[in-house]
């Protein structure tokens, strides 16, 4: 046959879908002939594989069956002709059913079979059954890789329908193991040496697949040990060996459970006493806990020498789990009773338990030291004093008595808690080269919103400049911008800066309407309703840059009116006046969004001086004079006057503005008032904030202050009004720097408590609290409280910083925080224990912080004492410790009344009584 004939033969065989014909065809070829055909066979396989995927859902069952057969034929021919390097590229999908695989390889007998099988099983352990078929056919050796054992975990048990001929119906895993000597004698022991991965491990298999006894590895191995097919002692040892190997916590769990399931006798446990004691030093907490339980059983059976316990127990005393440490202390106490001569050496290990954060653990440790006479041993006294800073205030006197020295804790007062104190002036970009450098930098990292504003201002100032080599210099920016837009970067600010760059470099202003932009963005954020007018600060950003490009194309080189002039994000009145005069002199018009933004960012400094120097000639200047505190005749541009009011008196209503422009909307002449509360939808509860007056009319784009309140309706369409990425949220925080409460309220709607994310954009809502000029009111306090209970470590960290700084600088509305706590505490959303941890850390900063946290906790105890919030005991314990540290009894009458009504013997009742006993 010619080459052409062969190639046609391959196509014909595949199209026929007859496996046996393919196998017969291959059998007739020698290796040289096979290699000649490999190119065509591989091409045919790839094509067929693609077709198989493409038609996965669209073909009829009959066609599907034919396609399956054809693909299998293509696999056989590819496998029977390809070189090992080609097979490596084709991956595991080229492998046909086990028997056909064996047939192909038996005929071919390649020298590289063992190496290929190793790679195959390592690449995809689920090829186990195919590999076993090859082994049993004598075609290859047993693979040595871990993948083979991982494949066995899932591939050997009759857990699911399988194509393996080895698994007859009614078969059990135990029968399988008994019948295959190499699995029984070798492979099952490697199960204890191979950790597995996220997909294939003994833990994962038994949790998700092998729950039935017939296919459970636990039940099978125990059954095999019971009939002496495999050695019980070896199983006990192997499971402990596995626990020594530092497998990940989830995967290590199976081995400790398996060991427990073997129910070792006292003799068996005693023979492994050293192993259990060693496992107390494991880095896996559940393994420590497992070992400690075994040690406890040995101790109960009086088979645990005290000296061995003393030499091994220290790691368990340092565990984070409270129960582990308490049990360890108990075992030491029991050992000391049994072996009085070893009391000093047992007592020497106890002080390390004082590092535990729980007061009751520390108390138990101190008790034990005292009972064992540790206070008479200088080394132990010294060890106790070493832990002075870690010991709870209520136990410090007790510890001092044991250590025989006063354990005075360093009181922290000098923490570096000040927010950004100094105000610096923002210098504008002064050349096209600098503009280019900044633009390229911010396209990669626009995390500082003031830098973004400086850049946009730089574009306004230098964008119209055209040098001879403009195209060459702008080339890298254009290329990068195109890439970001093509990649549809989800960061709105990067997207907008890239869009602006393309607008500048191509000289074309995008003419899309606001609606078109909405539709485009809606493709990234499907919650947005394409048919409704979109309102968001992203659109505000876009509209402003759109007008900016129009001015650049008109040849104007004028700054933005609204570009901040200082590091707080404010624009000085002097700068606004000068910029506006520049526009008038050039005959240019500024847009309403930029003008309103400039007024909202008006600096609170030197307003009266600026007002004196201003001689209002046009509507903008009249609005500016009004914003500066002067009296002006109102104009017609509603967004401008609302911004002027917001800059002038954001905390007081203005009847004229309200009447002429307000439309009953919040923060449009009427100050928005917030109530932190709780909403429930379909039994799903979540913290919320309600604004008065409600938004009941359409909000024009230029009503920048009111845009913040769109999210109040709980409409998913407006939930992202401040943006979906952290950089957009950061930019939104610069819109109204004088009054951030509406911005903070948006943070509450974003459910900051229960979503741990890799890069949580909600952190952006907390960052303004770190700025020294920002007061944190009702909405801010509510947000802060939720942040302190967040599951997300990034949010919790920034909330902690914000709480520490705002308390230190008296910028936090403590009553707002207390009220929010009172509201959220009974709801149990979020769980109170998270506040306990955060409050404990905040209160460690200074005496002032202690006092504030104590007042907030005490002030929140207002709900029904018969139905106390779960985990409230921890908060009340902290309240007690803070009262002791401040040396000041509880005076909040409602809290006293609450605690007086608490019954029971739990932590809440116990510490409640202690608090009341303080007087």
């Amino acid at each position: 046959m010619t080459d052409i004939d062969d190639e046609q033969e391959i196509l014909y065989l595949v199209e026929q879908g007859a496996h046996s014909a393919c196998l017969s065809f291959l059998k007739s070829l020698d290796e040289t002939e096979r290699r000649k055909l490999s190119h065509q066979a591989i091409r045919t396989y790839r094509k067929k594989d693609r077709t198989w995927f493409d038609q996965l859902l669209s073909t009829s069952p009959a066609d599907r069956a034919l396609l399956d057969r054809q693909l299998e034929c293509a696999r056989i021919l590819a496998l029977g002709t390809a070189a090992p390097s080609e097979l490596k590229k084709l991956g595991w999908r080229v492998v046909p059913d086990g028997l056909r695989l064996a047939s192909v390889m038996r005929d071919r007998r390649p020298a590289w079979i063992d190496q290929w099988v190793e790679t195959l099983i390592d690449d995809n352990p689920r090829m186990y059954q195919q590999v076993r078929t090859l082994m049993e056919a004598g075609v290859c050796q047993k693979p040595k890789s871990d993948g083979y054992i991982m494949g066995m975990i899932d591939g050997l048990p009759p857990a699911r329908a399988t194509i393996s001929p080895m698994q007859a119906s009614g078969d059990t895993l135990a029968k399988r193991i008994r019948s295959v000597p190499d699995i029984r004698d070798e492979d099952i022991w490697r199960l204890f040496e191979v950790e597995g991965n996220g997909d294939l491990s003994l833990t994962a298999f038994e949790k998700y697949v092998g729950v039935r006894k017939s296919c459970s590895w636990t039940h099978t191995l125990i059954e095999l040990s019971e009939d002496n097919t495999i050695g019980r002692d070896r199983l006990l040892d192997a499971s402990l060996d596995a626990l020594d190997r530092d497998f990940a916590q989830f995967r290590a769990g199976w081995f400790s459970r398996f060991h427990d399931a073997l129910s070792p006798t006292h003799n068996e446990m005693e023979a492994r006493r050293g192993r259990y004691l060693r496992l107390l030093g494991s880095s896996i907490p559940p393994t420590v806990s497992f070992a400690l339980k075994r040690v406890q059983k040995l101790a109960k059976a009086n088979r645990l020498p005290a000296d061995e316990l003393a030499a091994s127990i220290q790691p368990a005393l340092q565990a984070r789990a409270k129960g582990t440490v308490k049990l360890s202390l108990k075992l030491i106490a029991q050992a000391a009773k049994r072996s009085p001569d070893l009391v000093p050496s047992l007592c020497r290990v106890v002080p390390v338990a004082l590092i535990h954060e729980a007061t009751d653990v520390q108390h138990q440790a101190l008790n034990l030291i005292e009972t064992l006479g540790g206070s008479a041993i200088p080394e132990i006294r010294s060890a106790v004093s070493e832990y002075a800073d870690a010991i709870a205030p209520s136990l410090r006197d007790y510890a001092s008595k044991i250590a025989s020295v006063s354990l005075v804790r360093h009181e922290v007062e000098e923490l570096d808690m000040a927010a950004e104190a100094s105000v610096t002036t923002i210098e504008p970009i002064n050349s096209f080269d600098e503009l280019l450098r900044e633009w390229l930098r911010l396209l990669e990292d626009p995390s500082d919103p003031l830098d973004v504003e400086r850049l946009v201002d730089g574009v306004a100032r230098h964008g119209a400049a055209r040098s001879e080599d403009f195209d060459k210099r702008i080339g890298p920016l254009k290329k990068r911008a195109e890439k970001l837009i093509n990649d549809q970067t989800p960061d709105e600010i990067r997207f907008q800066l890239a869009r602006l760059a393309l607008g500048l470099t191509t000289g074309q202003i995008t003419t899309e309407s606001e609606r078109a932009i909405n539709a485009e963005r809606a493709s990234y954020f499907p919650l947005h309703d394409k048919e409704q007018p979109e309102r968001s600060f992203q659109i505000v950003f876009y509209v402003r840059t759109h007008y900016l490009l129009e001015r650049i194309n008109g040849g104007f080189r004028l700054p933005l009116l609204s570009a901040p002039t200082d590091s707080r994000g404010f624009v000085s009145a002097e700068a606004i006046i000068a910029r506006h005069r520049g526009y008038k002199a050039e005959g240019a018009k500024h847009d309403i969004v930029d003008a309103a933004l400039a007024l909202l960012r008006l600096s609170p400094d030197d307003r009266s001086d600026a007002l004196e120097s201003l001689d209002p000639q046009d509507e903008f200047e009249r609005a500016l004079a009004f914003a500066l505190g002067g009296e002006s005749e109102l104009g017609k541009t509603d967004g401008l006057w609302i911004a002027a009011w917001a800059a002038r008196q954001p905390y007081t209503d203005h009847s004229e503005i309200k009447k002429c422009f307000g439309r009953g909307l919040p923060d449009a002449g009427t100050v928005a008032r917030f109530n932190v509360g709780f909403s429930e939808h379909y039994n799903w509860g979540f913290p919320s904030v309600f604004v008065e007056p409600k938004v009941e009319a359409d909000v024009p784009m230029s009503f920048l202050t009111t845009l913040f309140h769109l999210s109040d309706s709980r409409s998913l369409r407006f939930i992202g009004v401040c943006g979906g990425s952290i950089n957009m949220i950061r930019w939104t925080s610069t819109v109204w720097p004088l009054h951030q409460e509406p911005f903070f309220a948006n943070g509450i709607h974003c459910d900051v408590t229960d979503q741990p994310l890799a890069n949580n954009p909600c952190c952006g809502f907390f960052e303004p609290m770190l700025r020294q000029h920002v007061d944190v009111g009702t909405a801010g306090a509510g947000l802060l409280l939720l942040g302190l209970a967040s599951k997300d470590t990034a949010i919790r960290s920034v909330a902690m910083d914000a709480a520490i700084v705002t308390i230190a600088e008296d910028r936090l509305d403590i009553e707002g925080l207390r009220k929010a706590m009172e509201t959220y505490l009974p709801s149990r959303v979020p769980p109170p224990r998270r506040w306990t941890k955060s409050f404990s850390e905040i209160s460690s900063c200074s005496r002032k912080h202690k006092a504030v946290i104590r007042d907030v906790i005490a002030g929140s105890l207002r709900h029904d004492p018969k139905k106390p919030a779960r985990d409230l005991g921890g908060l009340v314990e902290l309240l007690y410790e803070l009262s002791v540290a401040l040396d000041s009894p509880l005076t909040d009458e409602l809290a006293i009344e609450f605690l007086s009504c608490v019954t029971g013997s739990g932590k809440l009742a116990r510490f409640g009584k202690k608090l009341l006993a303080m007087g």
């Binding site: 020594d244 530092d246 060693r278 494991s282 922290v412 060459k472 890298p476 290329k479 470590t793 850390e841």
Partner: protein, 448 residues
């Protein structure tokens, strides 16, 4: 992932042998042509601390702190630590599988007694069984450490060679060289007592915390803040510190060092006679290998001076640059530069606490360091294709570099080089020069 096939060859698997009186920790050194090299034999004076630290090293070497989304989470467990036996220091070092974390255990002569010592650097077999065996070492165990190639095999009359062919990522090798420049630029920021260190480490979240945090000193210890502070230490990926939690209880104190330029930090648990050093790169997804801090140094080498300085290396635990300067009759700046180049070539490491380089020669093919460096390769390709045109400007020099369809502008100012490419825009030089800057540097050097 670029990798080279490195074949680890040992004559026996590392093990602990125990008899009635003592235990012997046999660490199998890699076979490399010379047969039966005995590097070290001696008794460990605080065996449980050494064993726990070696376990920690092994644990970190087998950990991937970051898995790229597109990558199958396959750990590079096969990599073995490198041990350097010097006259008065033993050091074990290695990287996490993601190369974002470097770990080294330094043992001073106070932590062991010597029966035999032959200086050298080698890989040591350190797999899962070894880790499990080390768990058995207690404070009352008498333990002898042996680092050699064949003793166990000879004793047991076995001649089977343990071979593991490992696709060793080039970043593993490059990381060893890059991390030295990070260490060189660090300042000591915070020292914590044993209890403060334990409190801090225990308070770290169990979950991954990849966001930027700053460790700041307080009167009673430290706390993490999200705000950058002048004397603070930036850290991302606090999960990388978890290995220290169990070790801190035996330490005298914890020193924290910080490199402000590269934002990497070093955490030194000091036990008096031995130290564990953990170096974290700025981000957990950022391997040291990709930093390119040494690229400029590799471009600018005076081979004659380098050879002279190299000739002075004799397995010193702390190299004295003044001494080398006087012997080679070079000034100290030249010697310092030569040492940093030798560090970039894997021939010396940097001891943070001693503030001095030490001699060790990485047991890999060191010619790969430059050959497999993609940025350096690309820069040479740009230069060879004539893509770099330098011109004089009022501010200094500038170059137009034709690359990937656009012309990137490299500007040379008093503050250094800038470029208009996305790499430079993103990292602002923090992760070393881009290929355009390197090509410009090469062009300027050749012109000079």
């Amino acid at each position: 992932m670029a990798a080279i096939d490195h074949k680890y060859r040992y004559s026996y698997p590392s093990r602990i042998e125990t008899d009635a009186n003592t235990s012997r920790l046999h660490l199998a050194a890699e076979l490399n042509g010379d047969r039966d090299v005995r590097f070290f034999e001696g008794d460990l004076l605080r065996p449980s601390i050494t064993a726990r630290n070696l376990r920690a090293i092994s644990g970190i070497v087998g950990t991937r702190f970051y898995t790229p989304p597109s990558m199958v989470a396959r750990l590079i467990r096969e990599s073995d630590p490198v041990v350097t036996i010097a006259r008065d220091q033993i050091r074990f070092e290695g990287f996490s599988a993601c190369c974002s974390t470097y770990v080294r255990h330094d043992m001073s002569p106070y932590s062991y007694s010597v029966n035999h010592l032959s200086p050298g650097t080698t890989n040591v077999d350190f797999q899962a069984d070894m880790r499990a065996a080390l768990a058995k070492v207690r404070s009352d165990t008498s333990l002898r450490l042996m680092v050699d190639q064949e003793s166990v095999a000879l004793q047991n009359d076995t001649s089977t060679v343990v071979e593991r062919k490992v696709p060793l990522p080039t970043r593993w090798i490059k990381g060893f060289t890059e991390v030295q420049s990070h260490l060189r630029g660090m300042r000591k920021a915070i020292t914590l007592s044993k209890v403060q260190a334990q409190q801090f480490l225990r308070a770290l979240p169990r979950a991954k915390a990849d966001h930027e945090q700053w460790l700041i000193k307080t009167a009673s210890g430290v706390r993490l803040s999200t705000r950058a502070t002048q004397n603070g230490v930036m850290i991302r990926g606090t999960q990388r510190l978890r290995a220290l939690e169990a070790l801190a209880v035996d330490a005298d104190h914890l020193q924290i060092w910080f490199n402000e330029q590269h934002r990497s930090s070093a955490w030194v648990l000091d036990y008096g006679d031995q130290r564990l050093l953990l170096v974290l790169n700025a981000e957990p997804w950022r391997g040291f290998s990709g930093d390119g801090q040494v690229l400029s140094q590799l471009v600018d080498i005076d081979q004659r001076v380098l050879a002279e300085v190299r000739a002075q290396l004799a397995w010193q635990a702390a190299i004295d640059p003044l001494h080398i300067a006087s012997v080679t009759r070079q000034n100290t700046d030249t010697v310092a530069h030569a040492l940093s180049v030798l560090a970039a070539q894997g021939l010396v490491g940097f001891d943070l606490v001693a503030e001095a380089y030490f001699h060790r020669e990485l047991p890999f093919d060191l010619s790969l360091i430059e050959r497999l460096n993609p940025r350096l390769k690309s820069a040479r390709a740009l230069l060879e294709s004539g893509a770099v045109a330098i011109e004089q400007t009022p501010q200094g020099h500038a170059a137009d570099v034709h690359s990937s369809g656009v012309i990137h502008r490299v500007t040379v100012t008093q503050d250094g080089f800038t470029c208009t490419c996305p790499w430079y825009a993103k990292h602002q030089g923090e992760r070393g020069p881009c290929k355009h800057i390197l090509a410009t540097q090469m062009r300027m050097d050749s012109a000079a």
